[in-house]
Symmetry: C2
Subunit: 278 residues, 2 copies
């Protein structure tokens, strides 16, 4: 999906919500546990219930890999389902990969290649190994790298905020340096909502880039704060919520409860978009 298509989708749906499909079989409603294709059935119900309020879906691969090969079958079914829906959605493999160039090419093929099993629109990448670990993900037309800049966890303080001898913190260095590796048409950044006030510092470096913002909801970030510091003229945000939506209820009404939570977030988002005349 190109940037133009993504911006149009946000405009049309009045939403920049990303639903994190971090499906843990032990947290699904009991009537879906132990059932054939239970994980896919859960994801399908969540997608059906939320797609009118949502522009993106982000399965975190760890949850699928922890179920072994069967988990990847469930992920493939989920992606096949998403790709055939009449309503479009931007899809993100939350994989946080990154390896030497030769190897990153293999990861790009695994997850982004339109002929591959998954055909995601975008993939999250860790920047530690530098340029040649990142650029292989930018070579597919209409596909995106989403580079980790400032994450939403406690461990973000260990290295990401260290200041180097030119005065930049590591996440700022990542934002600066990676400008040479891609464009606003094929590179986004992860910036955690738990550090929303730092979004203005991020925006000073990458005013035009899209930002993927995790950490709203269960992790404690505020959507209003994220909007205040993060919105740009093209919206420029994808705000993710995982547990707050997909586990809104543990009963048979899980999909309705997910719809209610997604709708609430979408309404706030619509108001924020109206505020900036988008």
């Amino acid at each position: 999906m190109t940037r133009h298509e993504l911006v149009s989708l946000i405009k049309e749906r009045r939403s920049f919500l990303c639903v994190g499909l971090d499906t843990d079989p032990t947290k699904m409603p009991t009537h879906l546990q132990g059932v054939t294709d239970g994980v896919f059935q859960f994801n399908k119900a969540i997608i059906d219930a939320t797609i009118d309020y949502t522009v993106a879906y982000k399965p975190n691969l760890a949850f699928y890999e922890s179920m072994g090969i069967e988990g990847l079958q469930q992920l493939k079914k989920t992606m096949d389902y998403l790709r055939q829906l009449p309503q479009k959605a931007f899809t993100i493999a939350d994989a946080k990969r990154g390896d030497i160039g030769n190897t990153s090419k293999q990861y790009a093929r695994a997850f982004l290649d339109p002929q591959g099993e998954f055909g995601f629109d975008a993939m999250t990448i860790a920047p530690y190994m530098g340029e040649d670990s990142v650029t292989p993900f930018t070579t597919y037309e209409g596909k995106w790298v989403i580079l980790l800049a400032l994450t939403s966890n406690k461990g973000a303080f260990d290295f990401q905020l260290l200041r180097n001898d030119s005065g930049r913190r590591l996440f700022e260095e990542v934002l600066h340096t990676s400008q040479k590796w891609g464009t606003k048409e094929n590179m986004m950044y992860v910036v955690g909502a738990t550090k929303a006030d730092m979004l203005s510092e991020v925006r000073a470096i990458v005013p035009d880039s899209f930002l993927l913002v995790p950490g709203v909801g269960a992790q404690g970030g505020s959507l209003e704060e994220v909007c205040r510091y993060g919105l740009n003229q093209d919206c420029g945000l994808l705000v993710n919520s995982s547990r707050g939506i997909i586990y809104a209820s543990s009963g048979t009404d899980f999909a309705e409860a997910a719809a209610t939570e997604a709708h609430k977030l979408q309404q706030t988002m619509a108001a924020e978009l109206a505020r900036i005349n988008f």
Copy 2:
């Protein structure tokens, strides 16, 4: 595998060679291409030919994931084969994962759990997201985190060598800070052979830790230099070679050619171990 068992294995086999099973179906001998279980057959032949000279095997997951779900079936067969062999070998999932704590736990379960499909001894992890992204991998008895410190690629220069305002370069900061997250019994570090002279700087910070050293051979690193700067009283090194061994010949004699290359490296290693009276 515990540290004690690993050190004993190195002593017995007079080798600290790790063979990188980065199996690319397009680079396998033509008689194995398009054959059922061809990737597993290739890996099995390489393992059989090299195990007397080798203490560790390291499949890079990217190569298997790029083949889709079938690729992971081939990886599982390879791991099942390794685990039932009478000769022991240390197994490393070269995955370079790392996510928020909750999610890293899922990755740890996927690859390290003895009840899981793979049951690797160790897994490579990227440090960018800090402590809570790393510690879930240290909770399994006899299992290891192998944290990226200084990688062998060109992109290593982008961030890993940046000096912070306390005078440490990022890879040194990773070595220092991570000392609190694990012990020499459950944490190793990746240090690329293409920067062998920097191994003495690494050793100044982590004198006792095992180091996994990629980049010997195809990437240009020298085994003798790695030994000079990296060996410690327990050996403390696992030196990886991938392409130089597994693609030593592209003909039907690929396994014999792999054995020859592995044997050469093992002989150099045996001489280096003798030199330090190990």
